[in-house]
Structure formats: C-alpha cells, structure tokens
Amino acid sequence: MATLETQQLDEIIVKTRRKMLTMGGAALAALAFGGTTKAEAQSTTTPDQDILNFALNLEYLEAQFYNLAVSGVTIDQLPTPIPVAVNGGTAGSVTLKPSFAKVPFVSSIVAAYAAETATEEGKHVLFLQKTLGSVAVSMPDIDLFNSFNALANLAGIGTSFDPFASDQNFLIGAYIFEDVGVSAYHGAAPLIADKTGVLPAALGLHAVEAYHAGLIRTVISAYDNGVSTGPLSTMTQAISAARSTLANPDPTMPITSPFTTFAGTTADDLGVQSATVSLNGGSTSATFTSTTIADTDLNALGWSRNSIQILAIVTGNPATATAFTGGFFPNGLNGTIS
C-alpha cells in the first residue's frame, strides 16, 4: 500500500509527530492552516546566498553582544577589527545604554566562557563574509539596549534588563541568543541547495551554536544549584515562553505583556527546567527527574524554525506580522530575507 505519496506522508508524519501528539483536533486544524500561511510568506526559491546573509545578520548580532560584553567595544574597534561595512555598504549603528561598560565579570570561569564565545562568533562573521564575498551584506542597525528592556517586559522579568550588568545577567543575555541560532541553522539546512559546500558549513555553524547553548544552559543551571525554580532558571523559562509565542502566535490570543506562560499555538522552546522521564531500562520502567540542558522536542531533536519565526523573535514581532523591524534590529535585517 506504500505509494510514493503515502511514503512521503509518512516522512512528514514523522516530522510533525511531536505537534500531533501534543495537540487536539481543533489545534491540528489551526496548525495546518497556520503552517500554510507561514510558508507562503516565504520565498520558495531561497538562494543559498540569501540564507547565508540571513545568518550573517544574526552572527553580527551575536558577535557584537559577546565582544561588547568582554572587551567593551564593537567588533570593528577590536585590536584585530572585524569589518561591519562590506562591499561598499554602510554599517548600521549599535545602540547601547548611556554610560555603557563591559561586563564586570566576577567569575573568571564565566569570563573565560564569554571570551571564547566572543572569539568564535567573530570568526563566524568573518567566515560568512568571506564565503559570501561580493554579495555579503553589511551590519544592520543593532539595538542592545531598548531591545533587552522590551524583551524583559514581554517575558515578565522586569521593566528593564541590562545584560551587561553582572555575570548572571550576561548569562541570561547569552541565553536569549544561542538557542535561536541553533533553531535558525536547523531550519535553513534542508533549504540549502549546495550540499557539498554550503550545507556542511551550515551544519558546522549549527553545531557550534548548540555547543554554546549547552554551555550557557549548563552554567545557568549550576548558578541555581540545579534547582529548576531558581531565579535564573525561572527567567529562562519566561524567555523561552516568549520565544515560543512570538514564533507560533495564536491569532485568537493576542500577545499581551507581561506574560510568563506560553500563549501561542505550539510551544517550540524549553527553558532550563526539570522534566519527568520514564526510562524502561531492562524489563522495568521507572520515572526519573531530568534536566533540560538540551532545548529539544519530544523526539529529543533540536527545534527547527523557519526564517519568519526567527525574524519574529529577533525583532519582537509575532510571526503573523507583515514587517519585521524592532527588537534587536530596529530597522530590520539586511539582505533578501528580512
């Protein structure tokens, strides 16, 4: 009975199994409708260069955040500068709080993690610029001040949030970015046409974002002594709920802020929290409490997000929006996917 189409259906069922398992009938109908709407808003023939330029925007954002945290200067002001204006373009500006200063790291361990991540995100910028060559985009306007305040409001963690104020705040700032990077590269990977040159590089970038995310989530959990109701873990849960809601908005439940629980159609994000797992080792089954260091779905696969969902998160708009400016990119992204 396995026709070509039913086999394709089975493949799709595997992919969408998580959603189907967690949703009721009415929600399923909404998913089918919502999925169609989202995909049609995307280009159907996204060239690899568009995808890489999209990634370059995100890497500019991450590189600026980490290098400012560590060195107190933008990447073009580093001892070994990283270009922000390329191919005759004009670089955007980076908005910081008045009297900005780098993070006053107390923990040498956190400082070391920050320095490594800053270096690696800078290398990602350089790699993408080099790979894209004459079509690489310049850095767009980036906001690392109002954006965090707005997100803090949205996630209900306060009226303002300064990720450069302390070790702990820095970790939360990093948390905001890394899982998003993982899901962005994951979503892009199957759309890449060049499977010998571009795809392996994208998977390499994808892995490093996940290494970073695993690092950050581990350190956050350690700061709370593994207690999932600790202050930092609680903030990650609110941020993940906000990301889920922006990426999967429910048209019947307008996003209001602040909120602390997920209010979208389907959750695609897990904070640093605890879970109950049932492990049937051998013939017996027993439940255990587990961490959620990996941000994954019910198949324990990393989440995948399409470019619209990523734009929604980084600009602070629901994915149903028609324009994506605001948040970390006050004037939007540079390039075709914006």
Partner: protein, 313 residues
C-alpha cells in the same frame, strides 16, 4: 516545493486524524482516505512498496547503531540496566557491562538529573531513528552486540591508566568522561552524514539529532573543564583530553583540546564544528586505526549492524 510540502502536511495530518480518531473503522477507511487525498485517485493501492532513498536508510541505520551505544551507556548509568527488549528490536545482540554494574552513585541530584536527561534523549533518538527508517520503507537494524567494558582498554590505550580498570560507572566524574567519549563523536558523525542524505526531511531530522548531541557535548565539556577549575583537580580533564587525543589519532584529527577557555570543539580557523566520515567514526568506535577492512572491535565486538560496517580506508 514548500507549497507541495504544505499540501502534504495537510494530507498527513488528516490521515493521522483518521488513525487517531476511530480505531478499526478508521483503519478500514484508511486506504480510501489515502486515495481520496491523492490527486489521481486509483481503485487499488500500489501493491509493492518501492523502497525510497535506500542510501538514506543505510546512513540512518549507521546512526542507529551509535544511538544504541549511547542509550545503553546512559541507561545503565541511570537505571542499572539497558534498553528494553522492545526497544532493542528482535535479534538484538547482548550488552556486556563491568561486573556488578548498577546506577552510578551520584553525589548530587543535579548529576542524576543530567544523566536521566541523557538517557531519555538517546532512548528517544533510538526510537526516532527506528520510526524514521520504517517510514522511509526501510528496516531498522536491531541493537548489535555492545561491550561497555571497552572503556577499560580504551583508557589504557589513551594512557589514562596503566591497566584497563577505568570504569565510567564508578563515580560521577568517571561517568562524565564516559559521556565525553561519545558526544563529540555523535556531533561529527551527524555533520558528516547530513549532507549525504537525499531526503531533506530526513536531513532536518539529522540536524535535530546533531543539535542534541552538541548541546550535550557542550554541557559535558563545560562540566569537566568547570569542575577542574572549581576543584583545582584536573584529573578528569586530563582523562578527557587523553580520550580526545586518541580519537584524533584514529579518527582523522577533528578534535579540540578541552580547557576552560576552549569548551567548544571546532575548527580553530573559522569556528565551524568538525565533521567525520563513516570510516573515521568506525575507527573510533572500533577502537583502532589500521586503515581499510576493520569491521568490528572496541565497543562493537561483532561490528555494527546494517550496511555501513567496515572501514574502506
């Protein structure tokens, strides 16, 4: 393509609702449901399945062997026993563990909870791959024979201890070194396998598997390096780096020495994660270099199950 995908998703969802909704009646109507959703209705379904993407299934079965290994290790560490008979599939090989292996004697709840996450994750990966292979008209291989006492000889080969007595179930730090042995390898194996897949849907699945392995590798590397920094005792950090060096020797390089300022395993030039060929992965899990023709050894005393079992280089 995306439009077509979305059409297919809609159809898949409606078909799934049939399955979930009405039991045997739905099963009886399923064939009708399938046909009515196709653009060219036909009176009878195609009788013989035509296997799709067979090379994809070979790659997925290769990955399934690795996931069996990881699942066995973490399940034993957490529960004191391995995969259920149902999860190991008919014809499964046996798993050898050190004598008197029980769950690792954790010293903090956080350690136990992290191990439980790893066990659940790798168990989920086993089930996901079995399902994905079946859905792709393939046959998932059963668990091959697995030898978790190989950590001892591996540690000796890595010059961690003079005699093969290293036991990853002995204490939480040794457990982390055991996990370290596998996770980075998983990341590189999926990085190598992903681009070889024909199906973009399966590619997305493999990217998801890669992410989970990298999250866990990042965490384990952080815990090992951070633990050494916090305690001033670099014993287990040194163990991990000796394992890493051994992997580099038999697995084509692709390693980053672990330190507090170097958590991520990535190419130092461009900070891209590493990738390995199936040959390089086989050499690592078989625990030996030796070029072409290696078909078993190390963690897999009878070799892997499936078609990708023997090194070609």
């Amino acid at each position: 393509m995306e439009k077509k995908l979305n059409d297919l998703i809609d159809k898949a969802l409606s078909r799934r609702q049939f399955l979930a909704g009405a039991g045997t009646t739905a099963a009886a109507t399923l064939v009708v449901g399938c046909n009515s959703s196709t653009t060219t209705p036909s009176p009878t379904p195609t009788p013989t399945p035509t296997p799709l993407n067979l090379p994809d299934n070979d790659i997925l079965n290769f990955a399934l062997n690795l996931e069996y290994l990881e699942a066995e290790f973490y399940l034993y560490a957490t529960t004191g026993s391995g995969l259920s008979t149902a999860d190991a599939l008919a014809g499964a090989g046996t798993t050898i563990v050190p004598p008197n292996t029980v769950a690792v004697p954790w010293t903090t709840p956080a350690q136990a909870q992290f191990a439980a996450e790893l066990a659940q994750t790798e168990l989920d990966h086993v089930r996901y791959l079995q399902g994905a292979i079946t859905a792709n008209s393939g046959t998932p291989v059963p668990r091959p024979a697995i030898d978790l006492t190989f950590f001892g000889p591996l540690a000796a080969a890595a010059s961690i201890v003079a005699t093969p007595t290293f036991n990853p179930f002995a204490d939480p730090n040794s457990f982390l070194v055991g996990g370290f042995t596998f996770e980075d390898v998983g990341v590189t194996a999926y990085a190598g396998g992903g681009p070889a897949l024909v199906s973009n849907i399966l590619l997305s699945g493999v990217a998801g598997l890669q992410a989970a392995e990298a999250y866990h590798a990042g965490s384990i590397r952080t815990q090992i390096a951070g633990g050494a920094a916090n305690t001033g005792d670099a014993t287990f950090l040194n163990y991990a780096n000796k394992i890493s060096a051994l992997r580099a020797t038999v697995g084509g390089g692709n390693e980053t020495q672990l330190s507090l300022s170097s958590i991520v395993a990535a190419d130092p030039t461009n900070a891209l994660g590493f990738s390995r060929t199936t040959d390089q992965v086989l050499h690592i899990v078989y625990g030996t270099g030796g070029g072409a023709g290696v078909s078993k050894g190390g963690f897999f005393p009878n070799g892997l199950n499936g078609k990708i079992t023997t090194t070609a280089s």
